[in-house]
Amino acid sequence: MPKEPEIKFVEGIVPDAVEDVVYRMCPMHLMRLEERMKELKKGEILELQTDYEGALVDIPDWCRKTGNELIGVEDTGEFFKFYIKKTVD
């Protein structure tokens, strides 16, 4: 059985780009994540905002598969902010 990825809760991360998919339906969080990460340079951070709880599984999973780093998640109470660092070209 695959190991559940651990999620670190963070605050105060300064991103290089922000993508807002709050209230947009699944799988927009993954589609936009892929699109935006292509635009970023290695070392840059994307803040992805979503209210979709499934993202707590999908995004760590996506990071594991692609080799990018999930710095952590901030829970605003209304939506989540995922901080993903581009670590592979």
Binding site: D20, Y23, M25, C26
Partner: protein, 384 residues
Amino acid sequence: MFRVYLDHMATTPLDREVLSAMLPYLENSFGNPSRPYDLGSEAKDAMERSRESVARLINASPEEIIFTSSGAEANNLAVRGLAKANSKRGMHLVTSEIEHHSTLNAFRALQKAGFVVTFLPVNSLGEVSVEKLESAITERTTLVSVMLANYEVGTLQAVREIAEIAHEKGALVHTDAVAAAGNVEIDVKKLGVDALSLSAHTMYGPKGVGALYLREGLRIVPLIYSGIQEEGRRGGTENVAGIVGFGKAAELARRHLDEVERVRWLRDKLIEGVLEVEKVELTGHAEKRLPNHASFIVESVDGEALMMALSFEGIYIGNGTACISQVLRASPILLAMGYPPQRAQCSAIFTLGRKTSKRDIEYVLSKFPGVVEKLRKISPLWDK
């Protein structure tokens, strides 16, 4: 029989160019736009070209257009979707008493869900008072929705001023432009609105397709849940042929906007002629109204009876918003404007179209006085 269709607020005939544009997407190009293969991508490309065309009609960006199944759905999406998306900030909403039922009932549903809604009154010309709006907005107000033009009396609202006031107080602004689109120029940037509803079938496009303009960067809670369609904001496999038809209709609407003066001239001739019949009164604003719109109270003549009697002469007019005229005798719009119920039942609405000719108007004016006289003779209300 000679036929004159003057009920363009209820619906418009499908333009032949629109039909031609749609047909390939009902036949060979039937692919699902979410599929990456060529059949899917040709449907997707056609849909995106339509999105550009609809956006161009109102000076928006294509990304700001969400296709829906109707103007009513666009109104529902705007009102319910924006109210819910901003409910953490406030639960107070403002609209007017003379909105289309799709807007009014969406607000009423929100009232049941705990929102507080102010329904602004209008004056005798059907205008929303900007001053009353200003005093109605509080720091808990998140959304103001006032239509651009009214279906029944044609009055144009001061949406630009309304938007300025609402924005100063931090509220978003939606306008229902279904009646106005194709009849007056619409520029979302000049109006300063955050959301605007459109429908294809009132501008020579097909029924079953509408659109919501939503300013870039705004969040909205969907009405219909599914997947990636409309960028995750409106679920359901898209009505590709309908959307293609809407795109063509929007292109034609832009092309035909310079014909407005011709329609206005004909409309003015119609008003002049209709008012020659005794005890007939123009409703709505005389100048600040849609150029194709003429609405009246024909004293002691039931609006529905007049509509039917004229149809027997081949003349098609309206007597209220199409979806409610069958169940309500008195127009709620006219009641809100202060007309007593007895007079609010006597509504007659003539809305001209692109193909309306001088001959059509002459025909209507040749029949109208006789039909009114006949109905008044059998009306228990007519006291001559």
